[in-house]
């Protein structure tokens, strides 16, 4: 098989944006490998609006947002292979893949961009007691059935987990005539965006039961009912609070897991918190020339941020190839650390020399914080002190530091992002 400069694993929003950016940065040898039969990834089934407010300054649906990038990929003449599964990425960046036309094949690459996205947490990972009847779906599977295949998964629905896909599906099922009885959330706060709770649940009178979980599923062939109980501060069900809901469908929206089997087997260093690769300011992983972006790196709530990060990953991959891998040299590596209520940061290391005008650090918080501050420290010096009225785990946060600030701090070792009460 022909060699390519840049091989991109995944043709969803991250892979598409990375490809377009790499091409615009001057690279003409780019290949996207996509396992589905079309480009666009999960956006194709996200038919609701609300995408693109940052990127295009207008409100688009998922398919519309995807098509803007797919059109660019086609116009720019970027190569892609559909129905193609990547099996392995080696340390020296040889990509092994297979499809029905070419069989198993290898592609030597100078740079690889990981853009595989994420997967839904399945029932098996939740330890819900009860039978295993038909009628239990992850919210994304149900979304595909309704929006792409045109099937209704059920008529009486209970949703466990308040992630954004579950909230969106609560409204979608209501539109299609289903009775959505409630959304139960184990934690005392929702994992979804506030605006989705209002627009998808409150608008249709669907109750959101915080600190509640499913403790039993009834039905041998098909779901017949579920029992929901309140949980205590240790997330243990409280006896006596059980309530039975008859239903034919249980949807799970209990979290997304970056899909990093390929990254792990390639030997990329991973973050135990995001389950994604550790990257530097250029979105480069611990293997020089292997970059990561999108939900495979950390799970996003806005596709706009995915596109923005993928854009940088694509640009840096093109620069890496143009410089023959010389990017890895020169400049000091500065650590980026999350402390206080900040759970993690992307990136985790920075080479100030390689930055553009500024450094964007994205992070999530560990709980709901009201009236707290996001503080940024360069070693011991606090350079930024911003009050946030509210921060919640469901909404990704960011700080932007001008490169000049970093450059003027002599002998910088550590950048710390801290969520503090003052």
């Amino acid at each position: 098989m022909k060699a390519y400069d840049i091989v991109i694993v995944g043709g969803g929003p991250a892979g598409l944006a990375a490809a377009v950016a790499a091409k615009r940065a001057g690279n003409d040898s780019i290949l996207i490998l996509e396992r589905d039969h079309e480009l666009g990834g999960i956006l194709n089934q996200c038919i609701h609006n609300g995408f693109g407010l940052h990127t295009f300054k207008e409100e688009l649906t998922g398919p519309e947002y995807a098509s803007r990038y797919i059109e660019q990929v086609i116009e720019l003449g970027i190569d892609y292979k559909l129905n193609t599964m990547v099996m392995d990425i080696s340390q020296d960046k040889v990509v092994t893949a297979m499809n029905r036309e070419d069989g198993m094949f290898t592609i030597p690459a100078k740079a690889v961009i990981l853009a595989m996205g994420c997967r839904e947490r399945p029932r098996g990972a939740l330890n819900i007691p009860g039978y295993r009847p038909a009628g239990i779906y992850s919210a994304g599977t149900a979304q595909r059935l309704v929006n792409i295949e045109g099937y209704m998964p059920g008529k009486e629905v209970v949703i466990l987990g308040s992630g954004d896909i579950g909230l969106i599906m609560a409204r979608r099922m209501t539109f299609e005539g289903a009775n959505v009885k409630c959304v139960a959330e184990l934690l005392p706060f929702s994992g979804g965006l506030k605006r989705n709770i209002v627009q998808c649940l409150d608008d249709y009178g669907i109750p959101l039961l915080l600190s509640h979980t499913v403790v039993d599923i009834e039905g041998r062939e098909r779901v017949e009912a579920v029992t929901i109980a309140e949980v205590d501060e240790n997330l243990k069900p409280i006896p006596g609070t059980e309530k039975r809901y008859t239903c034919d469908t249980l949807m799970l929206s209990t979290g997304l897991i970056p899909e990093n089997e390929l990254s792990r087997s390639a030997g990329v260093e991973m973050s135990p918190i995001t389950s994604g690769p550790l990257v530097n300011e250029s979105f480069e992983t611990s293997i020089p020339g292997v970059f990561a972006c999108g939900n495979v790196l950390h799970v996003h709530d806005l596709v706009d941020y995915v596109s923005e990060e993928a854009d940088k990953a694509g640009e840096h991959a093109a620069a890496y190839v143009a410089a023959d891998g010389a990017l890895a040299e020169g400049g000091e590596e500065v650590k980026v650390v999350a402390e206080g209520g900040a759970r993690y940061t992307v990136p985790t290391t920075v080479n100030v020399e390689r930055l553009g005008d500024s450094l964007t650090i994205r992070f999530r918080v560990s709980g709901v914080f009201t009236g707290s501050y996001v503080n940024v420290y360069l070693d011991d010096e606090r350079i930024s002190h911003k009050k946030k009225r509210i921060m919640a785990p469901g909404e990704m946060e960011q700080v932007v530091i001008p490169k000049s600030k970093l450059a003027e701090h002599a002998d910088l070792k550590t950048i710390t992002v801290k969520v503090e009460s003052e």
Binding site: N44, N49, T61, E64, I148, F175, E176, I197, D203
Partner: protein
């Protein structure tokens, strides 16, 4: 005099906004908001709440079976389920481009239902 309690969707703060409406349906006061956005949201939400509706229609002459569609602009919230009923009875025929009108002036709202994907 009527009081309506809303959660503002203008930002992640999610202020609990109380809107006071007089007997003529006029907004006389918005409280509980911590900024201007909440005031605007509260007024619009009680006088003329609108939403964009997205769904799918059956498509013929293509490998795919469903065409995603949306209302080209916001429609009154009260019309959502009437619009859904019309959408559920509509058919489209391939080829379709993004923005093609699938249903013109849906339910007399003056708003078209348009395709959001090329098939």
């Amino acid at each position: 005099m009527e009081k309506r309690e809303l959660t503002c969707i203008g930002c992640p703060m999610g202020c609990l906004v109380t809107v006071e409406i007089d007997d003529n349906g006029e907004v006389v006061g918005v409280t509980g908001n911590t900024c201007k956005i909440g005031d605007t949201y509260g007024r619009e939400e009680v006088t003329n709440p609108t939403r964009i509706v997205t769904s799918t229609v059956i498509i013929e002459g293509a490998e795919k079976t469903r065409l995603p569609v949306k209302t080209a602009s916001s429609i009154p919230k009260s019309a959502i389920f009437d619009v859904m009923d019309v959408i559920n009875h509509a058919h489209a025929t391939a080829p379709v481009k993004i923005g093609d009108v699938v249903i013109a002036d849906v339910c007399g709202t003056g708003v078209d239902v348009v395709a959001t994907r090329a098939i």
